[in-house]
């Protein structure tokens, strides 16, 4: 008798990839943005000597470290997972896909991991400017790492710079530069990095709001609030611009994904933008649809009338193109997931931007405020509705609360962004080249995948609780007090000041130890 788990061999591997990747990506954007933001604050400390910047550096730096620890360890698994669960994928694309991964390790990971150690333990070992350079190196490392891995992912979305070797039937790299610089990679990088900064900025604003509403640690939190709000607005706008650009590219490269994102069943021109849809996937149409006429044509092609291909027509075209060779029969992704994922991504992301814009306006600089509303550097900013009128106490309280809650919004948007773009590419692992079903490891049993998935899920859940509690504890505690050693950084590498300081420093405790 045939026992059917009702699972295709790739289903479990996909779930595992989804769980571990989304989890990993909870930490990545915060790591990328907090590295740069912390580096910026430390630069301000080195340049101005104002203690509030040093305290802010130490505070955000600590939260950054709690976060990067999780980002690093969950990242190791990502690099192993291709070989473990997707060995046929690895064989097929290793020649192309392996290169950016190896670049990432050799260039970016070494940077990050080495200089983070120097930064954590180096406060009393390195002269001020060298110590500052270390955190910038970490920041550069995180951004480089993002570039290489996104270039690799972009190749899965839109394979370029390769050929299929007729002998082995595998993909072979022919133009690495093209892989690194194709428009998909550039747009994905821009979109992901700006989203990362939106995430970090919202995190900063949220925690600053938490303290400001309680009138605690005001000088540090006031500065953090401003840095956060400015970053939030700038990066939020850039997320929107780069997202629009990426969507236009996707309309060309993966029309199916974008049709699914809009639940646009039949080719229409002008095509409407869907606000709400409920449909029947088997029948291939929507039963309920609320639409804005012509807007989708505009989003895809910059004018209000160009036709946008629908799901049904695209599916027929793909069947014609690929069925003889692959016989997949259905080239549609999971449409409700694509449709709602796309909306949640945009909705949560843009709500954060809106809150940033409102916040930046309400806390604007004193030039635009009547003298009665101006506040000093050690006061909680007053939220000013007009030049002379303050926001009422209830609304003020609500704004701070909303700012606190918005912390989670970019995280949610990021998750749905990845779920959308990866599930929207299905049934392909490499679009138009390698179906996902042909990518899994033939030698790995379902039992092994179930075992590893259960272990990861339990471990990740426990670590999530641990990490969240630690973050909350340190976020609540606020910026640390400074010690004399903090204000008296060494002038020589290895510690100490001036010649002969070594003997002196021999018994001095470390500024930081695990």
């Amino acid at each position: 008798m045939h026992v059917d788990l009702a699972l295709a061999p790739e289903t479990l591997a996909r779930w595992q990839f989804g769980i571990t990747t989304v989890y990993h990506f909870l930490f990545v954007p915060l790591t990328i943005s907090l590295a740069s933001l912390t580096a910026g604050l430390q630069t301000a400390w080195v340049r101005t000597g104002k203690e509030k910047y040093l305290r802010a550096t130490k505070f955000w730096g600590k939260l950054f470290l709690i976060n990067i620890a999780m980002g690093v360890v969950t990242g190791i698994l990502q690099e192993f997972q291709f070989g473990m669960n997707w060995s046929d994928y690895s064989r097929f694309v290793g020649d192309v896909f392996g290169a950016p991964l190896a670049f990432e390790a050799l260039i970016a990971f070494f940077f990050e991991s080495t200089f983070i150690g120097l930064w954590i333990f180096g406060w009393d070992k390195l002269p001020q400017r060298i110590h500052l350079a270390c955190i910038w190196m970490v920041a550069v490392g995180t951004v480089l790492s993002a570039y290489f891995i996104l270039a690799a992912n972009s190749w899965m979305q839109h394979p370029v710079g390769y050929r299929i070797d007729p002998e082995s039937g595998r993909a072979e790299l022919t133009d690495f530069w093209h892989v690194l610089t194709q428009n998909t990679a550039v747009a994905q990088f821009a979109h992901t990095i700006t989203a990362a900064f939106l995430t970090g900025a919202a995190f900063m604003v949220g925690i600053a709001a938490y303290h400001l509403i309680r009138r605690r640690h005001v000088p540090v939190m006031r500065t953090s609030l401003r840095v956060g709000l400015v970053t939030m607005v700038v990066s939020g706008l850039l997320v929107a611009v780069s997202g629009d650009r990426l969507a236009k590219i996707m309309y060309e490269q993966q029309p199916m994904k974008m049709a699914a994102a809009e639940a646009l069943w039949d080719t229409e021109g002008p095509a409407p933008f869907s606000v709400f849809a409920y449909g029947d996937v088997d029948e291939g149409h929507n039963t309920v649809a609320v639409e804005i006429p012509g807007l989708l044509s505009f989003l895809a092609h910059d004018d209000f009338s160009t036709p946008v291909p629908g799901i049904n027509d695209t599916n027929e075209a793909l069947k014609e193109q690929f069925d003889e060779e692959l016989g997949l029969g259905d080239y549609r992704p999971n449409i409700p997931v694509a449709y709602w994922g796309f909306r949640w991504m945009i909705g949560f992301g843009m709500t954060s931007l809106a809150l940033g814009v409102v916040g930046l306006y309400l806390t604007r600089r004193k030039r635009w405020l009547a003298p009665s509303l101006r506040t000093g550097a050690d006061e909680v900013p007053r939220l000013a509705l007009t030049r002379t009128r303050e926001l009422g106490p209830t609304l003020t309280r609500w704004y701070w609360r909303a700012a606190f809650l918005t912390m989670a919004f970019p995280l949610i948007a990021n998750c749905w962004g990845w779920i959308f773009t990866e599930m929207g590419r299905q049934p392909w692992a490499v679009y138009g080249v390698l179906p996902t079903a042909s990518a899994v490891s033939p030698s790995v049993s379902q039992g092994e995948v179930i075992a590893s998935m259960s272990l990861y899920t339990v471990l990740y859940a426990v670590l999530a609780v641990v990490e969240f509690r630690l973050l909350a504890k340190y976020a609540k505690a606020g910026p640390p007090d400074l010690t004399e050693a903090d204000l008296d950084p060494p002038t020589r590498i290895g510690g100490g000041r001036g010649a002969g300081a070594d003997e002196d420093a021999d018994d001095r405790p470390m500024a930081f130890s695990y």
Binding site: A69, E79, F80, S113, T114, L173, D481, M510, F512, S513
Partner: protein
């Protein structure tokens, strides 16, 4: 040198770097239960590798990434075939990394004790499993004509592989003990030296058995030379350790690790994963390699990046060259968060100026 051969060498270099560096990290982790007498000493041990363990671990990612790009079939067969072993390694590395970072982030006794258990077990387990994994790679496992691993988990636990695992566990612990003697002051330093002597004898026995069996089974003159260097390094490390020349002892234990790994790769060459079923199904440097174009690009990248990495990682070791002892530990790291009512742990707080 042919490109695939060059990349075989580079992969060997990356794994050698990994085992040399994370070897003593694992060793130090094991010593937290074997050598340390109390919490303060455990902290000293963890802090000897504090600034560097993360950078050391990236050598693994570079080795794995390099295999993926240069020998996709090697990477695919090894990682999917040794699925559960690598799963255990991964889980260990995940928990271990978090343990280092989080252990001191809370003052509670139970919290710190749990993470310390994690540091020990998650250092010992991968130190053992890497030996098992490499022994199997060198000796050959059931691989079919499609380059797929067709054995089962128990197939990987042959006596030879278990011996390999014991050797790496003991060797890394020895390497870690010698490193500890070099990096600490006080009572723990002399105890590390005494422990290293005992461990060194054990490692010598295991090395003669495992590397000897490896040499007897598939070795040539080059691997014999590496074998002899490994054993000579071990004896030299023991002598230097006995005379209190800690820098030399560490150098020689490093030579042993390097020579042992080099020897395994020499025995392996020109295969990368031999099949125990049929010689024609062996994965070799030729049939598992990427295209010349990819290998050329990768050679440029590795050729420029690796020396730079050695340079700035070497600089890190120089910055943190000072020995540490219990008196050097930073006052309780919770001094900073006292305002939030964390319980005192009995250590002095740093003088605050504001």
């Amino acid at each position: 040198m042919e490109l695939p051969t060059l990349w075989f060498v580079l992969i060997a270099v990356l794994w050698t770097g990994y085992f040399f560096l994370e070897g003593f990290d694992f060793g130090v982790g094991v010593l937290t239960k074997v050598l340390a007498r109390d919490r303060a000493e455990r902290r000293v041990l963890i802090n000897t590798i504090g600034p560097v363990w993360d950078g050391n671990e990236v050598w693994l990612l570079a080795a794995a990434g390099g295999m993926f790009a240069a020998f996709p079939d090697w990477y695919a067969t090894l990682f999917s075939g040794f699925y559960l072993l690598l799963l255990a390694v991964l889980i260990s590395l995940i928990v271990r990394g978090v343990a280092f970072e989080y252990r001191a982030k809370r003052p509670e006794e139970r919290w710190q004790r749990n993470w310390e258990h994690a540091v020990f077990w998650c250092s010992a387990l991968p130190a053992f499993l890497w030996g098992v994994i490499f022994a199997n790679v060198v000796r050959g496992v059931p691989i079919d004509a499609e380059k797929e691993y067709v054995g089962s988990l128990p197939d990987l636990f042959t006596p030879y592989a278990l011996l390999g695992g014991l050797l790496t566990l003991a060797l890394f612990t020895f390497h870690g003990a010698v490193f500890t003697a070099l990096k600490t002051v006080g009572d723990i330093r002399s105890r590390a030296r005494r422990l290293a002597t005992g461990l060194g004898v054990l490692v010598t026995v295991l090395a003669l058995a495992f590397l000897g069996a490896t040499q007897a089974d598939g070795g040539g003159p080059a691997s014999l030379a590496a074998f002899l260097v490994a054993v000579a390094g071990l004896l030299a490390a023991l002598v230097a350790n006995g005379r209190g020349r800690e820098g030399w002892a560490f150098t020689f234990s490093g030579v042993t690790v390097v020579a042992a790994v080099v020897m395994l790769f020499l025995v392996l060459f020109p295969d990368v994963m031999p099949s125990s079923l049929n010689e024609e199904w062996n994965l070799t440097v030729e049939n598992a390699a990427s295209s010349p174009y990819t290998l050329t690009i990768m050679t440029w990248c590795a050729g420029i990046a690796t020396p730079l990495v050695l340079l700035y990682q070497g600089w890190t070791y120089w910055v943190f060259r000072k020995r540490i002892g219990t008196r050097h530990l930073a006052p309780d790291p919770h001094a900073a968060s006292r305002s939030d009512g964390a319980t005192a742990s009995g250590e002095a707080t740093a003088p605050a100026v504001r």
